[in-house]
Point group: C2
Chain length 219, copies 2
Amino acid sequence: MIEKIKVHIADDHKILIDGLSALINTEDAIDLVGHSLTGKEVIEWFKKNKADVLILDINMPELDGIDVLKIFKNRKVKQKTIILSGLSDPKIVQEMMSLGARGFIEKGVAGEDIIPAIKAVHRGEKYYSKDIKSSLFDFLLEDSKTEEAIKSSAVVEPLTDREIAVLKLITKEYSTSQIAKKLDLTVKTIETHRRNLYKKIKVKNVVGLAIYAVKNNIV
Amino acid sequence: MIEKIKVHIADDHKILIDGLSALINTEDAIDLVGHSLTGKEVIEWFKKNKADVLILDINMPELDGIDVLKIFKNRKVKQKTIILSGLSDPKIVQEMMSLGARGFIEKGVAGEDIIPAIKAVHRGEKYYSKDIKSSLFDFLLEDSKTEEAIKSSAVVEPLTDREIAVLKLITKEYSTSQIAKKLDLTVKTIETHRRNLYKKIKVKNVVGLAIYAVKNNIV
DNA sequence: AAGTCTCTCAGGGTAAACCCTGAGAGGAAG
DNA sequence: CTTCCTCTCAGGGTTTACCCTGAGAGACTT
């Protein structure tokens, strides 16, 4: 008997996990061996168990998909990962790929894609849903360029605690001086944190920060 | 033979539609009679067909769930609607309810909730997933207060085409003067649109606009 | 002990955001 | 034909965001 492909799903929307489970259960060659609702659960689960393929949502509370991949990269966990993403922000696609993701599926595409994606990735291939392919990032998927492009790619540097605190207050529509009062710091300090956020996230102004915050569940 | 409950699903994430379909198909008493990926499709579908229950995502491009409900309210379409929502923003919950939604399910909850929700709503009851119930909006669900609270609630006025165009450019991190050039208008005009956006969306600055745009898929 | 990183703060500047009021033109609807 | 709405634009104002440079204190690393 041929071994089934073991799959683990991680998504903070349980309704999506349940839906995908039902879909995957229609396929004999694939076995759903676990699921997680948060990044932390994924890490914990993989300490004790193993799966061939991990279907990973990027937007999760606490530890998000990016954090999970970073941790897995260091620990050399060798499952193959398919990213589930609502929005295909170029920066994130690049980052995920540089962190070893093998597949990328937009939530906007048909559910039938999930089965071929699992099989392809398990065979060692890469898999991208059509919308990603046809997007402006085609160049990224052409192998020769890929590796280099990834290495020099726009990976968002990790934010410090203070920066996240400031970012959260910014998204609450507080001005720099209001944030300064709130955190009992000078305006100049907040301005510095602000500028560092711009640099790290590679955006031009608060708007970019706000969008980043929402997309990354920092709100 | 008892008639099956006819259900229509609308969500811009096809993967979620497919998942829910698989779930719903396990239930004999319920019949999936259609699905839509955009608000427009929902409207068109209901012109020619009918369903007992509509499962409606609030975040959809073009026409969102709120717009759909508004249109249905005017046309007195009499299907029962269950809202599917990623984020349970109080303003939106209130608005949806005032527009006649009968059920409210967070995407974060278990998929098993969907079947009882459909049945309950079809029987004429209201249905809210646990997270909603246990949230700070309990008071809203106590009938006496509900109606009044809804009438005076923070309903976001519909945005005009120009306003949406400006909002989109704002989220691309363009400054007012850059937007003016792009749209071939004066800076003063853009400023006016900006201020009107603040009023309508009830936010204080660009940050609020950006967040609203992302959450409502205007990005 | 010399880096490296985070967090803090400063001076001094330009550009942009934000606020107030007022208003005309054109289209849609009553 | 008047009312309502959208879109356009203006004068003149305050406040905030944003840019550049520089720097000290404390923690942690190698």
